[in-house]
Symmetry: C2
């Protein structure tokens, strides 16, 4: 009774089921707001610039007084002085006079354009203007960059370096943001141990809580707890319930054996969670379980480190965008590389093939990492992956393929 | 006397001049090591797995005892028991016996292969084996993933989630890393103010220390200090000298006026810095100054927010890779979008055109952001850029173009 879904169906289910999260907000200093998601529209109380500003080094003029100026029939204006950077221009430009104004300086009253210094000559206190300008030429008018009451950043947008710059330009110091998403991360399996000095035969050290937690940290999540659960129904169930109490999302990774998976499913059924996905048409990573409990997301990754990491890479952004209602998302970018071996696919599932990238003879080479199930050492060499569509049989060695970066 | 360089020459100068930084190291918990650069080769003291491990649910066998098995002529073995996950298999497999072993379980002594449960039937205490296996089939041999004395991560490699997973698999808890790079960030200009409640005519609020600092934070740098310097030679010089005392890199952004730039150059000459680049063949962003002082990098960005941010985007990764001696760098990935206006270039400089991305009619649309010099409001809508090569005249509206993400 697998509820096997395609990757696209899974993404749609994430969007449809988790866009109504109960998100906490807080006011924070804008200086600390990088990569948070904005929790309210920020409206400008100021105009930028808040004075007419020259965008060239040159002479502030009334455009009418130089409208016939050419190099053979220049206009001549008397120089009255200069505007200092950062200062109010107190003197007045008239039809027969001009004032020097630097780039970014205040355009004096009476002036409605600036002539670039390159188009002028200075002779004593006379400025020869060799070129006409149109009205407002070389001027950034008051409020033309940011007007009062304009929305500088809307709710549900990510606070980027440029957004911080724009908010600082109107004097914003604090901003209301959604709290970072918190995740409780569980690795399950009787064989898995953590922080043990010396292993007994049969035991292996945990990998998945580390790869999963650190990927989530890179996606701006906070890890509330990271646990190893040996296969004990009650212990596992209590950990999942605690996760739903303390955290926004519960991530688990189970062993790939049927027994382990039934465990996860049994617990979800026992607590009354709604199973949305049980099996995804992805390779590796089919045994993935997604459920909803008290409006929160349970994401059950496969147990194999490679499978778990690929599934997390494919869905982490989708989860975050769904929960925060982030729109206008960019596609995942790629670069091209030459494949150095055949990649064969015949499963009818969308295949994610990890590759190592090297640079040789002026081109990037993609080497597929074929590792036996559960191996970590070659996995860590992977910096990207290639996607083989469910309807494709793969790629031949020497093809140029699209490589996506892990983590993007 | 501009030392104008191409972008490629500038990158080469960064690599050649700053690969010998005096970097501090520290031992930290691996749990906190994400995105640090490793400062020593980490050698494994353990084998992974540290026992022969089945990679299927099935029966541990001596492959010799089932080498003739087919579904019509099966081999029959007596079931002696099962291996528990995480436990040492104490019982012995012989030519006539088998032991059940789960995926990831310890392969008992006497066995050298595992038969998948799908290829067997269980009748009482007899296991009917319907398929032969070769030696070591379905087994991960002791040490085959990670052998003793192998290098798990080399010096000068970035510590990724997968690297942490691999290091945790061999029980590593602490790691020697290079300290994060520290930067002192200065905005210069008489008109620039910070944290002022109400602006006087002629003043504008600082943008560049925020866009620059936050971009550097996203690149894992620490900002030691963020300063506004009004155009005062001594104050500026002292700030730069203090930056070289306290920080790894000094970033400044000056006004675009000739006067401002001379100031930066005059200070660098005054303190005896070596000017490497004065002008880059990039648009926008030509007035960029790069210098070397006491083996450290001075990076003088243009004053316009757009220009400063583009130049920083183009060179930040190059700076980091040069200083940390990071090799095997991936190319910057891109995605394709349809351009909705013409982009014209005639400068002979490599042009970086900021674009806003939207999604319409099943395709991504790139809208060039043409803003007057110094404007921040449209800049903050940019999520990517298009590169127009120095030898190209641009792109026509409706072309499919490569878009690179800001920040990548």
């Amino acid at each position: 009774m697998f509820l096997v879904k395609s990757i696209d169906e899974t993404i749609r289910l994430l969007k449809d089921n988790f866009n109504n999260y109960d998100l906490q907000t807080k006011m924070i200093e804008l200086d600390n707001a990088l990569n948070y998601v904005c929790a309210e529209d920020v409206i400008s109380n100021e105009e930028v610039p808040h004075f007419n500003r020259s965008i060239v080094d040159g002479y502030a003029v009334d455009f009418n007084s130089v409208k016939l100026a050419t190099s053979s029939t220049p206009s001549i204006l008397r120089l009255k002085g200069q505007v200092l950077m950062g200062r109010n221009a107190t003197d007045l430009v008239t039809k027969s006079t001009t004032i020097y104004v630097p780039t970014g300086g205040h355009l004096p009253s009476g002036a409605n354009a600036a002539v670039m210094i390159e188009n002028t000559e200075l002779l004593g206190d006379e400025v020869i203007i060799n070129k006409s300008v149109s009205i407002n030429e070389n001027v950034l008018l008051k409020g033309s960059d940011i007007s009062k009451d304009s929305v500088i950043i809307a709710k549900n947008k990510v606070i980027t370096p440029l957004v911080i710059g724009a908010l600082k330009s109107i004097g914003i110091r604090k901003i209301k943001v959604f709290e970072k998403l918190t995740a409780l991360v569980i690795s399950t399996g009787d064989e898995i141990v953590k922080n043990k000095v010396s292993l007994s035969i049969g035991e292996i050290r945990d990998i998945n809580t580390y790869t999963v937690s650190n990927h989530l940290k890179n996606k701006n999540m906070t890890i509330s707890e990271s646990l190893i659960i040996n296969d004990d129904f009650e212990e596992y169930k209590n950990a999942v319930l605690r996760g739903f109490e303390t955290s926004d999302i519960v991530f688990t990774s189970g062993g790939s054996s049927v027994g382990d998976k039934d465990y996860t499913l049994a617990i979800l059924k026992d607590i009354g969670a709604e199973i949305l996905v049980h099996g995804i048409n992805i390779k590796p990573g089919k045994p993935t379980i997604i459920a909803k409990y008290n409006n929160k997301l349970f994401f059950g990754l496969p147990g194999q480190p490679t499978s778990a990491f690929i599934v997390l890479n494919v869905f982490a952004n989708e989860i975050i965008n769904a929960i925060y209602n982030i729109e206008d998302v960019l596609p995942i970018p790629y670069f091209e590389a030459r494949l150095d071996s055949n990649i064969h696919s015949s499963t009818g599932r969308r295949m994610y093939q990890l590759v190592k990238i090297s640079y040789f003879n002026n081109e990037y080479i993609a080497t597929p990492l074929f590792a036996k199930s559960g191996m970590i050492n070659s996995l860590k060499e992977a910096s990207g992956y290639i996607i083989v569509d469910e309807f494709s049989e793969g790629y031949l060695s020497d093809s140029i393929v699209k490589v996506y970066r892990l983590g993007d």
